[in-house]
């Protein structure tokens, strides 16, 4: 129940972002309690074994630092990696959706030109709708003061 937030910018390079993750539920959350999305016990063991070999992109020390900030006292690397992996997947899903949006826009443009676009740039234009699907509202200032 954390999917609603507000991000506002004061300037492009020096900004203060307020992300409020409060207890407001969106329509998607009701279906997520469905058992199809949860892990069995056996799958849990598989996941933990995977984590021993696979290091998430977020380094262990960094994740542990932010968890300590939140008050979690842990020496178990499995827990730290699990949280790091979940956070990585969270961001990865958003960026993947943005990628698909980018490709759709790109395909509609290149059907006219026929040239392959080599550089793929992630812009706020692609990110904003992706975030809006998850209930995170981002406001960007239209000018740099």
């Amino acid at each position: 129940m954390v999917n609603t937030g507000e991000v506002s910018f004061l300037s492009e390079f020096q900004f203060i972002i307020f992300v409020k993750m409060n207890g407001v539920t969106s329509d998607r959350d009701v279906s997520d309690v469905n058992e199809d999305f949860q892990l069995d016990g056996g799958q849990m063991n598989d996941l933990l074994q995977q984590l021993e070999t696979y290091t998430p992109v977020i380094p262990d020390g960094v994740a542990r630092h932010y968890l300590n900030r939140a008050g979690v006292n842990t020496t178990d690397p499995a827990v730290v990696r699990l949280i790091a992996l979940a956070s990585q997947k969270f961001i990865s899903d958003i960026v993947n959706d943005a990628m698909q949006l980018n490709r759709m826009k790109g395909s509609s443009q290149t059907s006219r030109g026929g040239k392959k676009e080599k550089r793929s740039l992630l812009t706020m234009e692609d990110l904003l709708p992706s975030l809006a699907e998850r209930g995170i509202k981002v406001k960007k200032p239209s000018y740099y003061p």
Partner: protein, 231 residues
């Protein structure tokens, strides 16, 4: 503004930004806008903190001080995260690794001396649990010691008389040993030592002189008389 940003905190933030950049690279983007990177970094930091907070709430609610994997799963479910997709995600092919942070040597705590064998867990706790072990049993398990007092009259009488005899004997031997003693048996000087009697030069003097208590009473009486005469 720059002075408010602590440099270790900044370092952690920068490594988060690098992680976000690696994720974008993995998804196929070759470059991003600066503002996008900052947004995603902030979101990642908030998400990590939020999951940490929820996990802490769950394990503290169960009365534990160390998180287990179940706590994390509950926290993620509460935030609307689809846990099942984690398994597939962890198995995916192309991955980008940005390397671990090189740590300075940790001063590890010396192991605490363990006295006795700590209690085992009940059978319904699974084998792969990560719960902390029980503390030393003497610190929280207490068995009362002592005997019930005797109530039988016969035994109590016997014990009382034996104690009285033992006390008298011990006391007399002590005084005889430490003071002047007179042996009972001429052969064995230490078997039955008796306290030596010390006769006074004038034996009847003690009976004639008043005791201290009587002296004090006499003194007070004469004082009262003198006071009355003066008035």
């Amino acid at each position: 503004m720059a002075s408010e940003v602590l440099s270790p905190e900044n370092g952690f933030r920068q490594s988060l930004t690098m992680a976000v950049a690696a994720i974008c690279l993995e998804c196929g983007f070759e470059s991003t806008e600066n503002i996008v990177l900052e947004t995603l970094t902030e979101m990642l930091q908030s998400y990590l903190t939020e999951v940490g907070n929820s996990t802490r709430a769950y394990y503290e609610h169960s009365g534990r001080t160390i998180p287990t994997d179940k706590d994390v799963i509950f926290a993620l479910s509460e935030m609307g995260f689809r846990n099942k997709s984690l398994l597939q995600y962890s198995r995916r092919g192309k991955r980008i690794n940005i390397g671990q942070i090189v740590k300075t040597v940790d001063t590890s705590n010396p192991p605490v001396l363990q006295v006795g064998k700590s209690k085992g867990f009940p059978t319904y706790v699974p084998e792969n649990h990560k719960y902390p072990h029980f503390p030393d049993p003497h610190s929280y398990i207490r068995t009362t010691t002592g005997q019930k007092p005797e109530t039988d009259y016969v035994i109590l009488r016997e014990q009382a008389s034996a104690q009285k005899r033992d006390v008298e004997r011990a006391l007399t031997r002590f005084v005889a040993r430490t003071g002047r003693s007179h042996p009972l048996l001429p052969d064995d000087k230490n078997a039955f030592p008796l306290i030596e009697a010390q006769p006074h030069l004038i034996p009847y003097l003690n009976a004639l002189l008043p005791s201290e208590h009587e002296t004090l009473k006499l003194f007070e009486a004469t004082n009262d008389q003198n006071n009355e005469q003066k008035e």
